[in-house]
C-alpha cells in the first residue's frame, strides 16, 4: 500500500530538550492512523512538524512523495488539541475567513459551508457569534472548518473532547465517511476505546522515541499470549480444578457470568491448539464460556510504555 505521509528520521530539539528522536512513520493512503503516546511523548511536536508550524532539526517529511512545502497547507486539515475560534466573530464570517486562509475561493467556501451546515443541522447559526454558542456547538464549527477544504490528510488531536456521546458519535461517523471517500486520517487521542474502534494502524511514541508501530491487528497478534478465558460448571468442581491446574498454567479470571463454578484464565503453549484445550475441558465439565483473550489497545499501550 502507498504511504500518503512519510516521516523519515525526524528529530527536533527545544534547547537541550530532545522532543523527537529519529522518529519515522509511514501513514498508508486511506487509513486511519492512531498516533499514541503518554503526555509529553512528542505527538504534538510531530503533528506541528507535519503542519509546517515548526521545522524539524533533522530528517524529512514527505506528503504524496513530495518533500513538504508551503503549497501542502491546503492538502492538510488540522484540528489541534488547543483549539478555539474568535469569540466575537460571527460563525459564517469566521468559517469563510478560515476557509480562505486554506486557499479556497469565497464562493466555493460558501457553497461547501452551506452543505455542511445543512448536514449537521446548524444552518441558523450563520449570524451568531461564537460566544453565544455552547462549547459543543463551537466544536462542531471547528470540525467543519477542519474538513471543509477536502484535504487529503486530516489530523485530529483529541477530536471528541467537549462532545456529548451523541455528537461524538456523529463526528465519528463523519470521520469514517471521510475516510471512505478517500481521505487519510491521523488520529491522536488518549481514549483507547476510540483507537480500538477507528484505527487501522498505530504508532506509539514514548519519551521522544517511536517504540511501536504497525497494523493494529498485527500488533495485537504479536501481543497475544495464547490465553483463554473459560467458565465451567461441574458438580465436582474441586477435583476438576486441581486436574486443570496440573496440566496447564492457570491464572484467576474475573468476568460476569450467570453461575459458573469455575472461572479461569488458561495459558497454553505454542504446541497446544485451542481445540486440544477445549476437548480436555469438555471431557471434565460443562463448558459455558470459552474466549481467547485478545490484548486491547489499552493493554498494549500500558505494557509497552511500562517496559520502556
Amino acid at each position: 500500500m502507498n504511504n500518503l505521509l512519510v516521516a523519515d528520521s525526524v528529530s527536533k530539539n527545544f534547547g537541550k530538550f530532545k522532543a523527537l528522536n529519529q522518529v519515522s512513520i509511514g501513514v498508508p493512503m486511506g487509513s486511519i492512523f492512531g498516533l499514541l503516546g503518554p503526555n509529553g511523548a512528542g505527538k504534538t511536536t510531530l503533528i506541528r512538524i507535519i503542519n509546517q508550524i515548526t521545522m524539524p532539526d533533522e530528517g524529512h517529511v514527505y506528503l504524496d512523495g513530495q518533500s513538504l512545502k508551503p503549497e501542502h497547507i491546503k492538502d492538510i486539515g488540522y484540528l489541534p488539541e488547543e483549539r478555539g475560534l474568535y469569540k466575537s466573530m460571527k460563525v459564517g464570517e469566521q468559517a469563510l475567513y478560515l476557509a480562505q486562509l486554506k486557499g479556497m475561493s469565497k464562493s466555493e467556501a460558501k457553497n461547501r459551508l452551506k452543505y455542511w451546515f445543512e448536514k449537521l443541522e446548524i444552518g441558523d447559526w450563520w449570524n451568531k457569534k461564537i460566544q453565544e454558542l455552547s462549547k459543543g456547538q463551537a466544536q462542531k464549527i471547528q470540525f467543519i472548518v477542519t474538513v471543509l477544504h477536502r484535504p487529503k490528510l486530516l489530523i485530529f488531536d483529541e477530536p471528541f473532547s467537549g462532545f456529548d456521546p451523541i455528537n461524538a458519535n456523529l463526528i465519528k461517523d463523519e470521520i469514517l465517511k471521510l475516510r471512505d471517500e478517500g481521505a487519510t486520517v491521523i488520529f491522536s487521542t488518549h481514549r483507547m476505546e476510540s483507537v480500538e474502534e477507528l484505527c487501522d494502524h498505530i504508532a506509539l511514541l514514548h519519551k521522544s522515541n517511536k517504540i511501536l508501530d504497525g497494523k493494529l491487528n498485527d500488533i495485537k497478534r504479536n501481543f497475544k499470549t495464547n490465553t483463554f478465558e473459560i467458565g465451567l460448571q461441574s458438580s465436582k468442581s474441586e477435583s476438576v480444578l486441581s486436574e486443570i491446574k496440573n496440566s496447564f498454567e492457570v491464572l484467576p479470571a474475573t468476568f460476569k457470568n450467570l453461575n459458573d463454578d469455575i472461572k479461569l484464565n488458561i495459558k497454553i503453549n505454542e504446541s497446544t491448539s485451542p481445540n486440544d484445550l477445549l476437548s480436555f475441558l469438555t471431557s471434565k465439565a460443562e463448558v459455558h464460556h470459552f474466549v481467547e483473550v485478545i490484548p486491547t489497545a489499552n493493554d498494549i499501550f500500558i505494557q509497552t510504555v511500562q517496559n520502556n
Binding site: 527545544f14 534547547g15 506541528r48 503542519n51 509546517q52 508550524i53 515548526t54 508551503p70 503549497e71 497547507i73 491546503k74 492538510i76 488540522y78 489541534p80 488547543e82 483549539r83 478555539g84 475560534l85 474568535y86 469569540k87 466575537s88 466573530m89 475567513y97 478560515l98 480562505q100 486562509l101 486554506k102 486557499g103 471547528q142 472548518v145
Partner: protein, 440 residues
C-alpha cells in the same frame, strides 16, 4: 500563498466593527469638545466676575492711578482709619482692601502696602496692582530727580532683533515658536499613536492566544504574515479613527462655538490676559507685522522635507515599536503579565519625548539632540522634532537607515518570539526564557 491582504482585512474589520472602538471613536471628540467648552465657559464666568476693591491711601500719592474697569471697581476711601476701613469692607463683602500706609519718605511707600481680603487673592489681581504701583512710584522718583513725564514716555523702547542666517535667510522669534509647534505636534502624535495602537496590537495577539485559535490559524499561514497583517490592519484602523477624530473634532468645534458664542481663541487664562495687555499696548502696525512674520515663518519651514520625513519616520518608528508590542503579546498569557516587558519599551519612548521637549527646544543641533536623533528607539520622535529647525539630509538619511535596520532586526526578533510564544501556554515567560526561544 499570500494571505496578507486577507489577514489585514479581517484585522481591520474586526477592529472597526468592535463596539467599544466605535463608541470611543465617536465619543472621544464629543468628550474633548465638551471639556474645552466647559473650561472656556468657566474661565469666561471667572473673568466676567465683577470685583470691588477698596483703596485706602493714607499718602495720597497713589490714589489717582486706580481707574475702575468693567470687571474691577476701585472704591476710594478717605478719612477712615485702617480698622474702620477693614470693618466696612468686610461687611460689604467686597473682594479686598488695599491699604497704603502713611509714610514720610517716598522711598518707604513701597514697604507699607498691604492687601486685606477674606480669602487669599488671585495672583493676577495682585500682580496687576503691583505693576500699577511700581510704575507710578518709578515715575514719581524720576520726577523728583527732575525728569519730566514726557521724557519718561519718550525713553520707553521696544526692541525686536531681526535674525538672518549667513545664507541670507530671514527668520524671527515667531519662526522658532512655529518650528517648535510643528515638531512638537509631529513627535507627540507619533508617541500617542504608538501607545494607543501598540497596545491594541498586543491585546489582539493575547486574545488569539487565550481563545486558542492561534494553532488553527498558524497551520494555514506563516506567523510572520499573521504578525504583519495584525500590525498593518490595526494601524489602518488607527488611521481611520484618527481621521474621524480630526474631522469630527473640527466640525463639532465649529458648531459648538457657533451655538454658545464662545470664542475659543479668547479663552482667558491669566497668562493670556497679560499677553493681551501687552498686545493692546502695541500699535496695529506691529500686530500686522507679527502676522506677516508668522506667514514668513511658515513659509520658511522646510515643508516638503517635513512631510516626507514625517511619513518615513512615523511609519518606521511605529512599525518598530508595534512589532515589539506584538512580541510581548506573544510571550505572555494574559495582560497582567505584560508589565515586566512594557517598561523597557516605554522607557526609550518617554525618554525621547523628554529629550524632545527639553533639549531640542534649547539647542536643536546640540550633541544630546543629535545623538538621540540617531538612536533608533528614540530617533523617530526626536528627529521629527528637530527637522523643522533644518537637519542636513545626510543626517536624516543615516538616521532613517539605522531605523530601518533596527526595524528589520526587531521584526526578526519579534517573529522568533512570536512563533514560539504563541504556542506556549501556561509557561510564565522570563527574559531568560525569551532568550532561549530565539534559538529554537
Amino acid at each position: 500563498m499570500n494571505h496578507l491582504p486577507l489577514i489585514i482585512k479581517r484585522e481591520y474589520l474586526t477592529k472597526v466593527k468592535n463596539k467599544s472602538f466605535i463608541i470611543m471613536t465617536f465619543l472621544s471628540p464629543l468628550i474633548m469638545i465638551a471639556l474645552i467648552a466647559l473650561v472656556s465657559y468657566l474661565s469666561q464666568i471667572n473673568s466676567d466676575k465683577k470685583r470691588t476693591i477698596s483703596v485706602l491711601d493714607e499718602t495720597g500719592y497713589l490714589i489717582d492711578i486706580f481707574e475702575s474697569t468693567d470687571n474691577t471697581t476701585y472704591l476710594k476711601l478717605t478719612g477712615l482709619n485702617l480698622d474702620d476701613a477693614k470693618e466696612i469692607v468686610k461687611e460689604k463683602e467686597d473682594y479686598g482692601l488695599l491699604h497704603i500706609g502713611n509714610v514720610t519718605s517716598l522711598d518707604d511707600v513701597g514697604k507699607n502696602i498691604k492687601f486685606y481680603s477674606e480669602e487669599s487673592p488671585s495672583l493676577t489681581i495682585i500682580s496687576g496692582l503691583e505693576r500699577k504701583v511700581e510704575k507710578r512710584l518709578q515715575e514719581m522718583k524720576l520726577q523728583k530727580d527732575g525728569v519730566s513725564l514726557e521724557q519718561i514716555d519718550a525713553s520707553k523702547t521696544s526692541i525686536d532683533i531681526a535674525q538672518e542666517s549667513f545664507d541670507g535667510e530671514k527668520s524671527s522669534k515667531i519662526d522658532n515658536i512655529i518650528k517648535l509647534a510643528f515638531g512638537g505636534i509631529a513627535g507627540y502624535l507619533l508617541f500617542m499613536f504608538i501607545i494607543i495602537y501598540g497596545n491594541m496590537i498586543m491585546r489582539s495577539v493575547i486574545e488569539e492566544k487565550t481563545s486558542r485559535i492561534i494553532e488553527v490559524i498558524i497551520s494555514s499561514v506563516k506567523p510572520i504574515q499573521l504578525m504583519m497583517g495584525k500590525i498593518i490592519g490595526t494601524s489602518l484602523a488607527g488611521v481611520t479613527q484618527f481621521a474621524i477624530w480630526v474631522i469630527l473634532g473640527g466640525v463639532m468645534l465649529t458648531i459648538v462655538s457657533a451655538i454658545f458664542g464662545i470664542d475659543m481663541a479668547q479663552v482667558n487664562t491669566p497668562q493670556q490676559e497679560i499677553v493681551n495687555q501687552a498686545m493692546s499696548a502695541q500699535g496695529s502696525d506691529e500686530v500686522q507685522a507679527m502676522a506677516e512674520n508668522i506667514i514668513t515663518a511658515i513659509n520658511n519651514l522646510p515643508i516638503g522635507n517635513l512631510v516626507v520625513a514625517f511619513i518615513f519616520f512615523f511609519i518606521g518608528g511605529y512599525l518598530l515599536y508595534s512589532s515589539l508590542y506584538a512580541a510581548i503579546g506573544a510571550a505572555v498569557d494574559n495582560e497582567t503579565d505584560t508589565q515586566q516587558f512594557m517598561l523597557p519599551i516605554l522607557m526609550p519612548l518617554i525618554l525621547a519625548v523628554y529629550v524632545g521637549v527639553f533639549t531640542v527646544i534649547e539647542d536643536p543641533h546640540g550633541t544630546v539632540s543629535t545623538v538621540f536623533s540617531f538612536i533608533p528607539l528614540t530617533s523617530p520622535v526626536v528627529m521629527l522634532m528637530r527637522i523643522p529647525f533644518g537637519v542636513p539630509l545626510w543626517q536624516q538619511g543615516l538616521s532613517l537607515l539605522l531605523l530601518i535596520g533596527t526595524f528589520i532586526f526587531a521584526v526578526w526578533f519579534a517573529a522568533k518570539i512570536y512563533r514560539v510564544g504563541i504556542l506556549m501556554y501556561g509557561k510564565k515567560a522570563t527574559y531568560k526564557e525569551l532568550f532561549k526561544w530565539l534559538k529554537y
